[in-house]
Amino acid sequence: MRPLEPISAGRRLALGILFFVLFFAAWALATLGGFVPKIFLADPLTMVRDGARLLTDFGFAADILITIWRVVGGFVLAALVAVPLGILMGAYKPIEAFFEPFISFARYLPASAFVPLLILWAGLGETQKLLVIFIGSVFQIVLMVAVNVGQTRRDLVEAAYTLGAGDYGIVRRVLIPMNAPEIAEILRLVLGWAWTYVIVAELIGSSAGIGHMIIDSQALMATGQIIFGILVIGLIGLVSDYLFKRLNQTLFPWRLA
């Protein structure tokens, strides 16, 4: 091993898988070997058995789907508001001066703390769940997009001006295409955070979803089910992250050139 020396794709994959193997081995050793009481931590085999029963007997697939829909719904709403606003703030300094202080403040308001208020305002339905994710994501996206657009290389903007672009042309033909890959990366990052908000939203006053299953299992001390639920979230995150990356690579081939 030398600093910054690259490794082959095969070795990279093997090392990545190796960690998972060791992780599960350590878990199995701790639980099956009797080092940790069953009541605190289920062993991997129980977890798999509980998970299978959740899927076959208790319709857990529907819970997974509803959670995915909530995350995607709230996240898409947030992105629809935040990306255009962020671009405008990055491009036009008066707009930035107007919104930036408030959004910097609002970004620190914890989305989870809004849950009781949102239940009061929007009831226990889907609107409330979507709003939690919306509040948790929207301010983060706005600020990161604004910073990104604001840092666009000045010389590219100047070059576009000398080629006859007007102010609107600068936004449409330079600022947006130049920053599109970073904006996509920001969305990928914030989507990951949205997953933590959805579980929080589902822990309270919910009748379906992965978070709801987890809180139900807590009452039954079914640690196997809880762990299965957490692992499912992790797997969905891994898959969506991968899909997002692949999408970015196809949308922005110039980044890889």
Binding site: R153, Y161, A180, W254, A257
Partner: protein, 260 residues
């Protein structure tokens, strides 16, 4: 016929953190004739880039004005094409799309745009690279694209701000010949900023020597070398005499600048 008229053009930058204001450019007068290739030579910090940026409309003068084709300029526009020292191709556009950037802004039709792009791709010798991304090209090829992009817009004047400054010596020499060849065939009015004496003589029909702190035009020297120019001219006695003269002019400035 005068193409570009600069009258009393000056630029003072406000002092930083309570410091004294810095005069980047003393009020300067300059008249550039149609199809003239004017090189602006000077040490760093002499205001030559400031002058060019004001003509481009990217910076505002503190005093004076710039008149191009009888119209006073007030901001950047497609009538003044510019090539920068840094690589400013749009990385998300292919080479052909980069050259077409200004044409699209003009609202030209697809067929006409394609024809103009193809012509300029040929002129700068980039056939076969039309669909490459800028990143995939060498520095010299990127600057050739930048020249094609500026020329495709058919500007009234071409402004070049040390366009070959980041290139290696051999590439730079080839780029000078390419640019000179285009100018000899098509005749454009050109302002070319450089700190390289040989470059200033080889491509220019007239050379302005600028002095530093405060920046001003110190000498205005015609370059009467015949066209078409061949690279072997760089070793001719006439060329050497001009080079010796400009070296003397610029050396005094460099010594002064280094002393500060």
């Amino acid at each position: 016929m005068s193409k570009l008229v600069i009258e009393g053009l000056g630029r003072v930058f406000p002092g930083v953190r309570g410091g004294a204001p810095v005069t980047a450019l003393q009020p300067t007068d300059l008249v550039v004739a149609d199809n003239e290739f004017v090189t602006i030579l000077g040490p760093s910090g002499c205001g030559k880039s400031t002058l060019l940026r004001i003509v481009a409309g990217l910076d505002r003068p503190s005093s004076g004005r710039v008149v191009l084709d009888g119209r006073e300029i007030s901001g950047p526009g497609p009538d003044r094409g510019m090539v920068f020292q840094s690589y400013t191709l749009f990385p998300w556009l292919t080479i052909a799309e980069n050259i077409a950037f200004g044409l699209l802004e003009k609202g030209l039709g697809a067929a006409e745009t394609r024809a103009i792009v193809a012509a300029y791709v040929d002129k700068v010798g980039l056939r076969g690279f039309e669909n490459h991304w800028p990143k995939q090209l060498s520095g010299g090829m990127q600057q050739r694209t930048a020249i094609a992009r500026a020329l495709a817009n058919d500007p009234a004047i071409l402004l070049l701000d040390e366009p070959f400054g980041a290139l290696d010596n051999q590439t730079r020499a080839l780029m000078q010949e390419l640019l000179l060849g285009i100018w000899e065939r098509e005749r454009k009015t050109v302002l070319f900023v450089t700190h390289d004496i040989e470059e200033a003589i080889f491509v220019g029909s007239r050379c302005l020597v600028m002095s530093a702190r405060p920046g001003r035009v110190k000498a205005d020297i015609p370059i009467p070398l015949p066209h078409p120019r061949h690279y072997t001219m760089k070793t001719s006695p006439d060329f050497s005499a001009l080079k010796a003269r400009l070296t003397e002019e610029i050396r005094a400035e460099a010594v002064l600048a280094a002393a500060h």
